[in-house]
Symmetry: C2
Subunit: 230 residues, 2 copies
DNA sequence: GCAAAAGTGTTAGACCTACACCCATGG
DNA sequence: CCATGGGTGTAGGTCTAACACTTTTGC
């Protein structure tokens, strides 16, 4: 069976960050090609001897120097045959979360610039990256309700109000503060620390920590994380 | 940017069927290649001007002549660089459901033979197809609880006991008959017909029908299908 | 003492779970 | 009349949803 196939495989990463009550996405400005100066998702072509995951991590490293907290395969975009004007590309998109948008971004060799954009103030994007981003946002919204991935968007120690705001912001709706806290604490996977956050106004707030070990142990015994509010 | 990439893209389909209280998978026996006579998932290489979905449908047509009820992208397997002994292949796996395993299978040009196998009595599979199948089975199990995909495995009109058995079989646990029926009927998306199934023993059982239009309408208003039993 | 955000309980209703008997038919 | 599978209701407990005031701090 002779096989003449001329399709290229790329990976793209949708990197979400959370800061100042906003959900942000990491984009890079392209340095080369017809699409020079357009904003795009982090990504690039897969090397012959490289796994898909390795390719994503390499691109993240090369283009932004960032280290993500959570990474999972999102979807493979390959139904638009003319997606890339240069040649046919099938792109395996990955979904990533990092804690704190404040980390230093280093625009490295392949990207002219790397920057965080609020999900509500996106620039024009290259290729079909807008569609990919929408898919990622929906995945984030749905996963937030049944997996403890919100913690991957926060620093190790966080205020309860930050967690609460994160849920409100990403799910785009209001949540009852008391019920939310009760539910989260009832799981026993979020622990109070001795420390306090440095807020300027109002009563000082305790810092909390997500206990991942405990979560994993509970999961083995059939525990299901679930947050659903009216 | 010169690009020398030598990776091929394939699609594979995991086709589930349900008959005689058993969950079945459609496999084909390979006609050519080093893996001749091994059983494998339906699948093949993507053509240059063909979308991924079109490629899956074409392979399904060519290899089995089957028409599926439900088709969605499952996962892209590309982290095992030596997956296929011939050359590096990245495979986009699709997840498909058909109603009634009794439909006629025609082993066509590319496959020596196409056959249904019970998920519990699988032969040795080619490549990493066993792993793909496991992933598909987990997806089926989890989707069954929050999307009405069980109906895609049944004929248009079905007995309540068939639906019930389908859930028990796929989820591999017992379900309370009364609670199950109550829950399903409470959604208002399954309707009683005037007809009766032709059972041999016992009291005649009414046939029911899934009303997809109604389901879609309800979903727009925020309805969530969910079946969770202890 | 006032503004700002943190922290905290209760109650009514909805939903889930567990459970067993009668019904309609064919042989 | 008996064997077989179909069809049905209720009560107790659990979980959810709705709701507002007090506390601690900085200014």
């Amino acid at each position: 069976m002779e096989l003449k196939q001329n399709i290229k495989i790329a990976v793209d990463a949708i990197v979400f960050g959370y800061a100042d009550n906003k959900l942000n996405v990491l984009l890079i400005k392209q340095k080369f090609g017809e699409l020079k100066n357009q904003w795009a998702l982090v990504g690039g072509f897969v090397k012959d001897n490289e796994t898909l995951i390795d390719a994503v991590n390499r691109e993240l490293q090369e283009e932004t120097g960032i280290k993500v907290n959570y990474l999972e395969q999102l979807f493979t975009f390959g139904d638009n045959v003319n997606r890339d004007p240069r040649f046919r590309v099938v792109s395996v998109a990955y979904f990533a979360l990092v804690n704190s948008t404040k980390l230093v971004l280093q625009a490295d060799s392949d990207a002219e610039d790397a920057k965080w954009f609020s999900i509500n103030e996106l620039p024009k994007l290259a290729f079909d990256h807008k569609e990919i981003l929408k898919t990622a946002q929906r995945r984030l919204q749905s996963k937030l309700s049944y997996q403890p991935i919100g913690f991957d968007l926060l620093p190790k120690e966080f205020l309860f109000s930050e967690l609460e705001n994160l849920y409100c912001t990403i799910l785009e709706r209001k949540i009852d503060r008391r019920n939310f806290r009760k539910k989260i604490l009832s799981f026993g996977i979020v622990e109070e620390t001795e420390k306090f956050g440095n807020k300027i106004k109002g009563r000082p707030a305790k810092l909390y920590r997500f206990n991942k070990q405990k979560y994993n142990k509970l999961v083995k015994d059939g525990f299901l994380f679930e947050i659903n509010f009216a």
